[in-house]
Amino acid sequence: MSALVIRDLSVRLKKGPPLLRRVPLDLAAGEVRGLVGESGAGKSMIGKAVLGILPPSVEITGGEILLEGTDLLRLPPKERRRRIGATCALIPQDPLTALNPSHRIGPQITDRLVDILGWTRPAADARARELLAEVQIADPDRVLRSYPHELSGGMRQRILIASAFAAEPRLIVADEPTTALDVTVQKQILRLIAGMQARHGTAILFVTHDLGVVSKVCQRLSVLYSGMVVEDSTVADFFAAPRHPYSAALLAATPKYTDPAAGLNPVPDAVIDAVRAEVAAFDRGAPHG
């Protein structure tokens, strides 16, 4: 059973250019799929469309988002929000802006459980303590009483991970969750997400621009250019031999410290021209391959 199936999802700027071009995507239950591409490729946009948090300047012009078989786009808004709230969660990029600076950590984890999912306060509190222990926070009671500014960046990201897993979601959108962290903390956080994901069997859409990260935490990946999926592969196949010239060029641009001659090669202009032509052809209704 797929946790999420997206068919022909098209999103555009209101009265403006397309941002997602008939995107297809399949996410099996318990699978981690990387969404990669350069800034503006639309990778975050897919996650936002699924979670119903697209900015007001943007509209969905077509397609289906099937969450466990139900098309979210055909549900009345209230029912859609309820369903997304009950089955999905987000791990955002910047832990400092995602946490309210004037509230203690505890209620920021538990309020959603109590107000939206109808848990009792003691049950939610117990769950919060249990989750903080699971994300390896040594002193959960103190941390639950802390304010965000009293905690380090890595600690705050742990809290957001705990909070995302709180209601046992089927699907988590992780939107560049480690981009703001330095490499050693990033490694801890990625291992933590991978461990939580495996234990809870959660499907994750993992938005990132870092192919190194994809190779560590994902089973499949979609490569986007200008809102179009140019490649959909398993991680093993992709890193052995990327099929699309653009995704191959992206891989060649990724730094590789073990081989100073490889990596850090800009995507060649010829590759950009070719993929742009492909996008234009796709828009005219004549998709290649």
Partner: protein, 266 residues
């Protein structure tokens, strides 16, 4: 090769505002705890470390945006450790800085041409239009970009403007503080290649601050690893990568996720 910078037992303390009492002065914490190293003329030195290791503070001390609390900084033979702002002013043209976030380091109300011309004017250059034209050329931006505003440019183009502004002054030394960490891999590669070429062609000396060892590998001949305000390793880059000596360097290296599913990363 002569040294452009000679750093001896550099110490720097800053006020710890998180521990400041309501009334009275904030306690000082020592960020840099006695660093000694040299930067040879014409070389590119990488400065790496995790957040809070002191790498940006060190950079700011090198270009004297911060005043050290101990030790000495010699620039081209002259002691600049405690020079006053006025005494530093003529030197400022010679050490330039490129910043991490071009959106906050380029004035959003000025056109690119004005942004590059402003420091030239302050330093009393007379052939400003020629220099602006040449700087845009050197960083590979079309001349028409002089009329654009920063928000009309991509992240990589903005960083090129930052580089153009710095090299227009014909400095001896450039400090680049995490200048590619906000960029996509392709723009990152372009900016690094550009910097590599400029350092070579213009005979610049470069200090390149980054938390990512993999971008330093290509660009820098020498790498300084900082951890908690101390140098834990300072060696030629190829040696450091081949055989990292300090535990912290090994930790930094092994934490980098290589784009390779076969890499052991447990």
């Amino acid at each position: 090769m002569a040294d452009l910078y000679q750093i001896q037992d550099l110490r720097l303390s800053l006020a710890d505002m998180t521990a400041k009492p309501l009334l009275g002065a904030a306690p000082k914490i020592e960020i840099l705890k006695g660093l000694s190293f040299t930067i040879p003329k014409g070389s590119a030195v990488g400065i790496v470390g995790g957040s809070g290791s002191g790498k940006s503070t060190l950079g700011r001390a090198l270009v004297r945006l911060l005043e050290p609390s101990g030790g000495t900084i010699r620039f081209d033979g002259a002691d600049i450790t405690h020079l006053s702002d006025a005494a530093l002013r003529p030197l400022r043209r010679r050490f330039q800085m490129i910043f991490q976030d071009p959106m906050s380091s380029l004035n959003p109300r000025h056109r690119v041409g004005t942004i590059i011309a402003e420091p030239l004017r302050l330093h009393g250059f007379t052939d400003i239009p020629t220099r602006v034209t040449r700087a845009l050329d050197q960083v590979g931006l079309p001349q028409a970009f002089a009329m654009r505003f920063p928000h009309e440019l991509s992240g990589g183009q903005r960083q090129r403007v930052g580089i153009a502004r710095a090299i227009a002054l014909e400095p001896d030394f450039i400090l680049a503080d995490e200048i590619v960490s906000g960029l996509d891999v392709s723009s990152q590669a372009q900016v690094l290649n550009l910097l590599e070429r400029l350092v070579r062609d213009l005979g610049l000396t470069l200090a390149f601050i980054s938390h990512d060892l993999s971008v330093i590998r290509r660009l820098c001949q020498q790498t300084i690893v900082l951890h908690q305000g101390r140098i834990v390793e300072n060696r030629p880059t190829p040696d450091l990568f081949a055989d990292p000596l300090a535990d912290y360097t090994q930790e930094l290296l092994s934490a980098i996720p290589l784009p390779d599913p076969a890499q052991p990363w447990g």
